[in-house]
């Protein structure tokens, strides 16, 4: 019974998983190289950046806020990384740490504006987003940059390529490594981020405080939750996730690009992914892992359009001019699914909750 109850609460997430399995299954079935390691690596690469941006978006959404600066912050770190990710091993390590710190700092400033400046998150991050795009343009007036090609190759392929690039074990790979060598690096990275950053945060007092604030800030305050600390931590963590996304984009594209429409697109898609994952925009329920699944659904759908056979009855779906329309309709349909609630409530007052 309790399992059933829990499952009904996770309805949004279960639906998202089902959608992903459906669409990615269709894609793999249609694609000539469906299920092959190369294709999975490619798809994982295309998913990673948005997945991290969506994770960044999730944390402020849990508070009942919204962070419009995740896309610009990702873009800013992307431009910063395109300057810093060159040179020897130590230079690279230092560059990555510096990029992460930049993200943490930007996130902290967002949090400070919300907590101490008492500005609504959506407006505060709208403004910091403009500032961050400005900094990105300052760092990279035109797209370009030199990113260490070894690191770039290693981060965007399978574990085997990592060992191969850096000559681990002198090319003589041990058996246990050969067993896992086909796993794409982005998948390992995202699992590491979830296990090392998100799960500890979620289970910490501060993290649980974020959920409490999202459910009811007054109740959280009365219960002695450190409201300010939780909010600051939430926005700072969002900054960290966005920074990882920015670094990865730099590794993936080998350059930095202060592209304003791209930044806006990432922000909007991150909100869509959060919603599809089943996280409530009113705060208090959901999580970053759900948002990753939301991103996987979004991406799987767009992958599907690539493999529609043109001579079949659904051939018109392959028309590239129609793609933006279908993406929009799917997004709209996905978010309207939550409307089912409207037709089940007995007392209309409950709608205003």
């Amino acid at each position: 019974m309790t399992t059933l109850l829990r499952m009904s609460r996770q309805g949004g997430l279960l639906l998202a998983i089902a959608l992903f399995v459906l669409f990615y299954g269709l894609y793999s079935y249609q694609h000539p190289r469906g299920g092959s390691a190369d294709l999975i690596v490619q798809n994982a690469n295309e998913t990673f950046t948005l997945a991290l941006v969506a994770m960044a978006q999730t944390v402020p959404v849990l508070l009942g806020g919204l962070d419009l600066s995740v896309g610009p912050l990702m873009t800013m770190v992307n431009c910063l990384a395109s300057h810093l990710l060159t040179g020897s091993g130590w230079d690279l390590a230092f560059g990555i740490v510096l990029c992460l710190c930049a993200g943490l700092l930007a996130g902290f400033i967002n949090g400070a504006l919300v907590v101490y400046g008492r500005i609504q998150p959506i407006i505060a991050t709208l403004a910091t987003g403009a500032v961050l795009i400005g900094i990105a343009l300052f760092l990279r007036p035109t797209p370009g940059g030199a990113v260490d090609s070894d690191l770039s190759w290693a981060a965007t392929n399978t574990l085997f390529d990592v060992a191969d690039t850096y000559g681990w074990w002198g090319g003589d790979l041990p058996g246990w490594f050969q067993a896992i060598q086909a796993i794409p690096v982005p998948i390992i990275l995202i699992v590491l981020v979830v296990l090392l950053v998100w799960v500890p945060f979620k289970n910490s007092v501060t993290g649980r405080g974020c959920y409490a604030i999202g459910s009811s800030e007054q109740a959280a305050f009365m219960s002695g939750v450190a409201i300010d600390r939780s909010k600051l931590a939430a926005f700072t963590l969002a900054g960290l996730f966005a920074a990882i996304a920015g670094i990865y984009l730099a590794l993936q594209t080998g350059s930095g690009n202060a592209d304003m429409p791209m930044a806006g697109g990432y922000t909007l898609n991150s909100i869509a992914a959060v919603v599809i994952g089943g996280t409530s925009l009113f705060g208090g329920s959901g999580g970053a892992v759900a948002s990753i699944i939301g991103v996987m659904v979004l991406r799987a759908i767009s992958f599907c359009f690539r493999v529609v056979p043109e001579d079949s009855i659904v051939g018109f779906l392959a028309n590239p001019l129609l793609q933006p329309l279908f993406e929009g309709i799917i997004l709209l349909a996905a978010v309207s699914l939550g409307a089912a609630r409207v037709f089940t409530v007995k007392n209309r007052l409950q709608l205003f909750g």
Binding site: I123, L126, I227, L281, L321
Partner: protein, 316 residues
Amino acid sequence: MQAYLRSIDRPILVACGFVILILAAGTAYTAVTQGTATFLSPTYLLQQLKVASFLGVVAAGMMLVILMGHIDLSVPWTVAASAMLATAVGGPEAIPVGLAIGALVGLFNGLGVAFLRVPSMIFTLGVNTVLRGLMVMLTGGFSPTTMATPPMQFLAKAELLGIPMAVFVWALLSLGIVFLLTRTPMGRYIYAIGNKEAAAYLSGVNTRLVILGAFTLCGLCSALAGILLSGYSSKAYQAMGDPYLLPAIAAVVIGGTNILGGQGRYAGTVVGTILIVLLQSVLSVMQMPEAGRQIIYGLVIILMLVLYGRGGRSAA
């Protein structure tokens, strides 16, 4: 009474102060570099008012929605779609068709928000994507070649008594919005919904109808802005509405409207619009690179909101 007045007008006063500050800084700059006071000349100010009228029309509609605690992110492609379809239809029907498209989009937004109760932020975002998809499908991703009709160009470009027509359009619309907000039940209901929709509902207000109406009006305003814009540049083009979404929200908020709804005066939105347009113009005259412009733009919004000192601790 005095304290009450001060609390209401503070954002507007601060915004007015900023407008004067921006003009003073710009004038000081031109006085030093060119020995002229371009920014104080009536021609320049009228030109800025004309540019501001496009943003002002969008911001007027946006304010109605924000006052209810909602937001309309479908503005960019509502502007573009109504402009594109209006120019495509052409002839005397151009303007009515454009406005009808905007009203239709607004009505659809309202249906989703009021009846399906999808959060406005996410529903209008979806509608924006669908509209973009529709326009890409219709135009093939290129700018339509059709020209804006003479009446559209007249509304945007002509001058009456030396004052641009677009400013008259903005002023008329403003009068209408002020009347709606302060003199009609609908206006009061909008504020009431922004404060607490459940309370408004229990008081007998048909809140769903009011939300529907406000979103429709916002769509109409976006369409009007699209018609003016395409008249101004003689044609409609892809993504023509994109630069208007965030400045419109910023103009409304800088003018002292609470982003959570229920509070704000229309005069503030007008001042906020003028502030943003002047800021953009002065920075571009100073030949500030895009990077610096974005940074200053963001910092000004943050600074002003911190100065207002609003938004209590309890609001997440």
